[in-house]
């Protein structure tokens, strides 16, 4: 990407006592992209995010947001960031609208009409004057997004935004984030431990394990992969295994009554034709949906991330 990055983190490190929670993380995020920060609980996602928004001091490293050094020019740098860290905690004794007024007062040069705009954007018009203690988690999550959008930030940082949401809420959140990135050219950093979720909305994914960033990949690379894993259920299985081994140049693995192999998409009809000609009964041929985790495991050398 040729655009200037919104967020640039270099050598981000956090040490508490003799424990290295975050180890030398480099991160660059560009406008208009959704960057997924993936890792199991306790891998250091939240600690990293805390440092990115100035909630925690970094032991070493440098963070630049929209060109401003986070430590030296905190107020300027952070004014480009909107976010939710962990749960969307709000003042429960206030109404949703009063909560937004509270955060609006802390933004410089934003007209008050912007409050109604973000309320409409997250679809909370009907309940915005109710006290937050009557809100469901999904509504609080929406209110959290609304407060993060108040000052039209160039970087949106959301820690586990789909945590605790029902499937409908997750879908809405995903569509919302995609819209913000595509239409408003906002850079979005989301963290999650849910791989499938990330796969659906992220442009790039960085995987964090034991405090280290072990790989950053573009989602496109995964989607356009030339070969895919398939599973064939056939009878007699032994004969089919031998024949296929000769027919294909790739290894074929046998699992009970199924054969598993990695082939190019175009080759699947040929395989079918070949086996039928050899009088093998075919019950099924199907794709194996490799999870993001599997692929990351391959990429990162099989270290367990869970």
């Amino acid at each position: 990407m040729s655009q200037k990055p919104v967020l640039h983190a270099q050598g981000l490190t956090k040490v508490i006592g003799n424990k290295k929670l975050v180890n030398n993380i480099d991160l660059t995020i560009y406008p208009g992209e959704i960057f997924g920060f993936l890792g199991p609980n306790g891998a250091g996602k939240t600690t990293t995010i805390r440092m990115l928004v100035g909630l925690a001091d970094m032991t070493a490293g440098k963070v630049t947001i929209a060109g401003y050094d986070l430590e030296k020019h905190f107020e300027k740098a952070i004014s480009h960031v909107g976010g939710i860290v962990e749960n969307p905690e709000m003042y429960k004794f206030l109404t949703g609208y009063q909560n937004l007024i509270h955060y609006w007062r802390m933004c410089k040069g934003v007209p008050k009409s912007r409050i109604d705009e973000v309320v409409n954007q997250v679809g909370l018009e009907k309940r915005i004057h109710d006290k937050v203690k009557t809100y469901s988690l999904g509504m609080r999550q929406r209110l959290g997004i609304a407060q993060a959008l108040l000052h039209s930030p160039s970087l949106l940082i959301l820690d586990e935004p789909t945590n605790g949401l029902d499937p409908k809420g997750v879908k809405e959140m995903r569509e919302h984030l995609l819209q913000l990135a595509r239409e408003e050219n906002m850079a979005v950093l989301v963290s999650s431990h849910q791989l499938a979720e990330m796969e659906l909305m992220c442009d790039r994914i960085g995987i964090i394990q034991n405090g280290s960033l072990i790989g950053v990949k573009e989602m496109r690379e995964f989607r356009d992969e030339p070969t895919r894993k398939i599973r064939i259920i056939a009878d007699p299985i032994q004969k089919a295994h031998q024949l296929l081994q000769q027919f294909l140049n790739t290894p074929v693995e046998q699992q009970d009554h199924a054969l598993i192999m990695e082939v190019e998409h175009e080759k699947i009809p040929d395989i079918n034709h070949f086996l039928v000609n050899e009088n093998i009964k075919i019950y099924a041929i199907m794709h194996i949906n490799q999870t993001l985790e599997d692929r990351f495991l391959e990429m990162t050398g099989g270290n367990s991330i869970a």
């Binding site: 928004v53 905190f74 107020e75």
Partner: protein, 325 residues
């Protein structure tokens, strides 16, 4: 600094939109009414109308003087007690000579007593101060507060000032409400009666209004110290219950602790915060403990104040914000 004013607005919103705060104001008003009614009833046996009892205050004072003079004859009296007896006699004699009735049963007399109700304000302000910082940690809202473009110092200052603002509002409510209750129950006669002090071996007349303001003002000193203390505890421990509990415990036992320590002749007792927090003795011509003076107490209080403030600010600015879990 319009941005800072908006932060103050936020803090005020968070104080006064809480049901608990409104309950505090309600309780303060109810207690003032109850206090006024009970005092009046206890003094005169009825609630409304000016007391008639003061008609024979001369005889009562005369009896008191005779009694005190008899006490003076007794041997082995400790010197402080002796001094206070002499002072009492001089003051009472002055009242008889100049026809100044004692303040019992008058509006001013009542107002002098209401200053003890500031203890309630100390209690409430400690709660508000403790929730102001620690509450944000308990609610988890501190994170969203800190990732806005305001420095931590500005946010902390807005919280501190809003809390002090709450204390001042409560004092004004108490003062005005006491004045109203007092005026209704005692009437507004006798307002010109002076406040008598025994100074340098003689009786001096002073303004009663000034005396009442001084009493309230001195209560503000301990209010300020205890609120700053609670503010510090809630920043250090990030727990409002601990801050509330510890501050209230010390407020109400501080004097006793100092008393016990000074009874044991501990030399450093005079450096304890609670030995200095009540400045009223200095204005009545004595000192809380031997070797203390008004300027000594002011210096000790200032040092405590600076330490509280420095700790609060340094910790709030430096420490990482971690979640409750």
């Amino acid at each position: 600094m319009p941005n800072f004013l908006r932060l103050l607005q936020n803090e005020n919103m968070k104080i006064y939109r809480r049901t608990g705060t409104l309950a505090m104001i309600g309780i303060l008003i109810l207690v003032t009414i109850a206090f006024a009614s009970i005092t009046k009833y206890d003094e005169s046996g009825y609630l409304f109308g000016a007391p008639t009892k003061q008609n024979n205050w001369q005889t009562e004072l005369q009896q008191q003087i005779t009694h005190d003079k008899q006490s003076l004859q007794e041997e082995d009296l400790p010197k402080p007690y002796l001094d206070s007896l002499k002072e009492q006699i001089a003051l009472n004699q002055y009242r008889l000579d100049h026809d100044i009735s004692p303040n019992e049963g008058t509006l001013w007399g009542f107002m002098v007593n209401t200053d003890s109700l500031t203890a309630l304000i100390v209690l409430f302000t400690i709660i508000v101060a403790s929730i102001s910082v620690a509450g944000e940690f308990t609610w988890g809202t501190i994170k969203l507060l800190m990732i806005r473009s305001s420095t931590r110092s500005k946010i902390l200052l807005s919280k501190y000032l809003a809390t002090l603002g709450f204390a001042v509002s409560m004092l004004i409510v108490l003062f005005l409400f006491s004045l109203t209750c007092g005026a209704l129950l005692y009437g507004v006669g006798n307002l010109s009666s002076p406040y008598l002090v025994y100074e340098h071996g003689g009786v001096v007349e002073k303004s009663m209004v000034l005396h009442i303001f001084t009493l309230y003002g001195l209560r503000c000193v301990s209010l300020l110290m205890m609120v700053t203390f609670a503010f510090m505890i809630s920043t250090v421990f990030r727990s409002s219950s601990l801050a509330i509990g510890l501050s209230i415990f010390l407020t109400f036992t501080g004097n006793t602790i100092v008393g016990i320590l000074s009874g044991m002749n501990v030399s450093w007792a005079k450096y304890i915060l609670f030995a200095n927090i009540d400045l009223t003795p200095y204005f009545q011509g004595s000192a809380p403990l031997e070797g203390m003076s008004l300027s000594f107490s002011i210096i000790v209080l200032s040092i405590y104040y600076l330490i509280f403030m420095a700790l609060t600010w340094i910790l709030f600015n430096k420490r990482d914000i971690v979640s409750g879990d």
